[in-house]
Symmetry: C2
Subunit: 178 residues, 2 copies
């Protein structure tokens, strides 16, 4: 059976925000019945795990209002519409940590929550870091700390990392770097 | 500096859907300036990586309209309001795969995309599986396949797994089970 859902009509004027848009599709299911699908449209994000020659990882701590808590994450940000994730990764790394690199290694592109959200997150690994100076976006407040990769790996295994992209980045960086 | 953002007022009648709600906060930033935060409210989700004694993993393939593609994922679902993630994991495993287990091992609770979405995903590991019979929700169409854990691990490392919770579950199950 073809499992694809067919869009019959779309209500797309529901919410047109700065970060995301909301629309609702009327769809036909594989068995011919009708249903609705609520969609959050987002241009996508990027995260960079940056590891120093001493195997320290540059981590950011910031208040996340959706979680109502301070969260420990890899440097990350959202793409502008049509922006290349690689270029966005280079930009976010420099803006948030003050470090630059010549090359990012691709660690995959992931749907954050594919049931209802179009956001794809690209994750990269950066080494060969050079310090240039942090310059945050207006309205962006965060602290940068260096944490050993092996310590972060233990934190993931102890369920102490609370952000999806950060957990994936740490587990893959540990598998690659040993 | 205290990095917490203070909510001044909230517009919460923007979208009240079956899957998520949308609201916008007017906030005060740590430096006293004002800004807005757009929020998707979601009751949370659960995913279960179920591994047979032969080290095969029960995977589901389903069409995801937000991604417009067939996606390979661990069995998963959303929580009802106030539902316990552990109970929801037991339910989703049985509904989607037809298998049950006596015990789930907790692999962590993760924000899918904490910049704007309240969704927390709990991930569990299930072993000691018993087959009872699949019974999907109305409007739910998916295929269940068994894929060796080592093959799935290779797929994650080759950037071929496209869903955040699924990548985390595979990487952690491989680290635990060896």
């Amino acid at each position: 059976m073809d499992l694809k859902e067919k869009i019959i009509s779309t209500r797309d004027n529901i919410f047109d925000g700065r970060i995301f848009h909301v629309k609702v599709h009327d769809i036909e299911l594989p068995d011919g019945k009708r249903s609705k699908r609520e969609i959050v449209e987002h241009h996508g994000g990027v995260g960079v795990i940056a590891v120093t020659p001493e195997r320290d990882v540059l981590m950011v701590t910031q208040y996340r209002i959706a979680a109502d808590e301070m969260m420990l994450e890899i440097p990350a940000g959202k793409l502008e519409k049509g922006e290349n994730p690689y270029d966005a990764g280079m930009r976010e790394l420099e803006e948030e940590t003050g470090y630059t690199t010549d090359k990012l290694e691709f660690l995959g592109e992931y749907y954050a929550t594919p049931g209802y959200c179009t956001e794809k997150l690209s994750i990269y690994l950066a080494a060969d870091l050079k310090y240039k100076g942090q310059h945050l976006d207006p309205g962006e407040f965060l602290n940068v700390t260096k944490i050993p990769l092996d310590k972060l790996y233990e934190m993931v295994m102890q369920n102490e990392i609370r952000d999806c992209k950060t957990a994936i980045a740490i587990l893959k960086a540990k598998a690659i770097l040993g």
